[in-house]
Symmetry: C2
Subunit: 445 residues, 2 copies
């Protein structure tokens, strides 16, 4: 089974609840919303991502006969309920913020309106898909903001958490503004530009470093980026200088060198000097090794002459904030708003919409979180994307989403773009939404 | 394409290096080892996991014609090289520590001995597979050590990083000693016990909480665990007391209640009292909500009357340590040891073995890291698992691995089992290995 496409990639309680709903004939329309309760520390905004995969999942949702047969072997479910499951499809409507939209705490980025069992069943995987890409896109956007003019490449697949994380981190990073990824499958699957040349093992496998450089240049003449820190970074930079004229004779240009260890700023300065003095001004310097937005910012603030960065583990694992406090919650059932009141986890009831207000200069001013039918000034952010289980339009291209992110990040007030300090953006709860929440607190269940 | 099985789930540099090796006819035997350079903070040991998936990957490695065709479209590779790739299989030998083995920094847990291109190509995905499960198994083992007599269940799929992480976190958690998972697919794929009953939405979808409890009990009579914190935890506990005799009349037993918010210790005390005073001593209390080994330890030290824990996000994202500083490095090529000397990333050359010494009481005494052919006293930890691309034996069952972990954790000296303080275990570098490393530092490349 492909874990990414099996409907059994869900929590058991979805199925036990569905049997409960089935027994009671509870299949009225339910409204669930996905939102982030609180932004993590040092995240002043988030970037919505993962919608395409979420919609693919909903559109193709079904139990295969093999899956039904396995559920039968668990002896947990009745035969008639399994029969019912085997015919289940997602027939609901979905509203969502377009991928690449900047959003804030408590703002739904996706709303599912569907018969209760369908809307319930999809919870676990929808969270799994939206959570991960949103987290990664949000972190990648921070990298882009600190190094807007640099080549930024995702290098993190090896320490991403599994196969899908590696693949989708490349997607989320690219849509948020990175220039590409080392992950080949992301090129094949999403058309994302791929980058890569050599590891230390290539150098080590040769008896001499210079020979490794030469061999690589002949094998990949259009893609000569030489890794120079296997033994002695500055000595290797000198070898690059000496190699250049030999390669030039056969028409091969050295594009860049890569430094992957040590004090990157210090090495970059020394290497830049060696290259410049050797007449290699056109050879750029690419750096990697434990980089994230904080490290890149420090390197640039220190004036390190680095032209591009490979951002790996810390991006793909979102290492400083490896999860979001997100939820997918029932807000209405059978025409009645619903509210969970669990301590510190209370939700706002009803079908909601977010209206965004802009200042005269085009920057974000404040958002209003209100009920769907309470029209407010500003731009509504949740748009219909699926109707009765069918997509309303073709998927946007990643490049369209990427352009949206650029625009959205530019519309953030400068303090919000700070990667180190917490700054709040105003999300106002409308009176009608607050009234409804208060009313529910006074009812007992 | 299924990301978990595509050979294109790799870094581009593997392919560009392979073209370099191909052009030069470099296909002598290479030895690569996977190891963790430094243990993360608050990890005194790690638990090896992910070998089964790594070996599956090696055994089935091939480029499909579709993948070759896509690589052709990138115009990065020559036609004869792509021809060569399409015939490439993994034909090497593999040595590894059995899954569930406790290990320490710089100790290889896997050694690949294969023609250079094969051993090189598999780097990215091997790291991806071994890194994730080792990280999760290591964290799960800590949960087991702080709550050895409690029911511990993985609840984390929704915030795991993608599909494969959700599935394999369940596997890694179970082999390290958790009792099961909420993830249904882990039951179907690995035979792991699955757990789950209801979410808040089930309660909310009903007009009254008591009705939700009743409906659930009728639908899942053998699995009655009631979630009691949707509105008012203690009020719900009283409803459970009142419901018990009604369900008893139709032969249904309430097994447990679950608390998922607020001060879990305080609620558990109050709920325990309500249940006990209501004659429900047999109903157990299960807790969830932002739990990890630290939170579980605090709850138990505070005497919270909790019988089981659902451990979610913090486990599946390994939230306090979301990555390991691991590597897969070339140690020998064409019969000559190789050493990378990059600053802070220098490796120990040669084919290595780890010998483990035990004290008279059966606890771990120290390990010796040495060269393969230098036999030392103690137990060698790396064993042959694949020969010429074929598995040497059937996969171990997860239950066998699980028993090994119990044994291994029992053999750790008490300070090493501490989840809060760093304690070092002695890994001695043998003289012959140190000599070889020194020799290499004196050579130039």
């Amino acid at each position: 089974m492909n874990p990414a496409s099996s409907i059994l990639l869900t929590d058991l309680y979805q199925l036990t609840m569905l049997e409960g709903y089935y027994r009671q004939g509870m299949r009225d329309i339910a409204v669930f919303e996905f939102f982030v309760r609180r932004l993590p520390e040092r995240r002043n905004y988030l970037v919505a991502a993962g919608l395409q995969q979420a919609l693919d999942y909903l559109e193709n949702l079904k139990f295969t006969s093999e899956e039904i047969a396995w559920l039968h072997t668990t002896q947990r479910f009745s035969q008639d309920f399994l029969q019912y499951l085997s015919a289940l499809r997602f027939t609901g409507d979905v509203y969502a913020m377009p991928e690449g939209t900047v959003f804030f705490s408590n703002e739904p980025i996706l709303r599912v309106v569907a018969p209760l069992p369908e809307a319930q069943l999809v919870e676990s995987r929808l969270i799994n898909l939206l959570h991960f890409q949103t987290m990664i896109a949000s972190k990648a956007a921070r990298c882009v903001l600190v190094a807007p003019d640099k080549l930024l490449v995702d290098f993190g697949m090896r320490r991403a958490h599994g196969a899908e994380a590696g693949l989708l981190a490349a997607r989320a990073g690219y849509l948020a503004g990175l220039h590409g990824t080392a992950t080949v499958l992301a090129g094949a699957q999403f058309g994302i530009p791929i980058f890569g040349t050599m590891a230390h093992s290539f150098v080590q496998a040769h008896d001499a470093e210079l020979l490794a450089f030469e061999h690589f240049a002949y094998a990949q003449p259009d893609n000569v980026v030489l890794l120079i820190d296997t033994y002695d970074t500055e000595a290797a930079a000198n070898k690059v200088v000496s190699l250049k004229p030999h390669l030039a004779k056969v028409g091969i240009k050295i594009k860049a060198v890569r430094i992957d260890s040590g004090d990157l700023a210090e090495h970059a300065h020394k290497v830049r000097q060696i290259l410049d003095e050797g007449g290699c001004q056109e050879i750029t310097i690419f750096a990697s090794s434990s980089l994230d937005e904080y490290a890149v910012q420090k390197l640039l603030q220190a004036g390190a002459p680095i032209d591009g960065f490979g951002i790996g583990t810390y991006l793909d694992a979102s290492a400083d904030q490896p999860y979001l406090d997100c939820a997918y919650k029932l807000q209405e059932y059978a025409g009645r708003p619903r509210r969970k009141r669990s301590e510190h986890k209370a939700t706002l009831p009803g079908r909601k919409q977010v209206y965004r207000q802009f200042s005269a200069d085009g920057s974000l001013s404040y958002d209003v979180l209100t009920l769907e039918d309470d029209v407010q000034p500003g731009i509504p952010l949740l748009l219909p994307v699926m109707y009765k289980g069918k997509l309303l339009r073709q998927d946007e291209s990643l490049d369209e989403i990427r352009r949206r992110v650029v625009q959205q990040l530019q519309s953030l007030a400068m303090p919000l773009r700070d990667i180190n300090e917490q700054h709040d953006y105003s999300v106002r709860i409308s009176d009608c939404l607050q009234d409804m929440a208060n009313k529910f607190d006074n009812n007992s269940n």
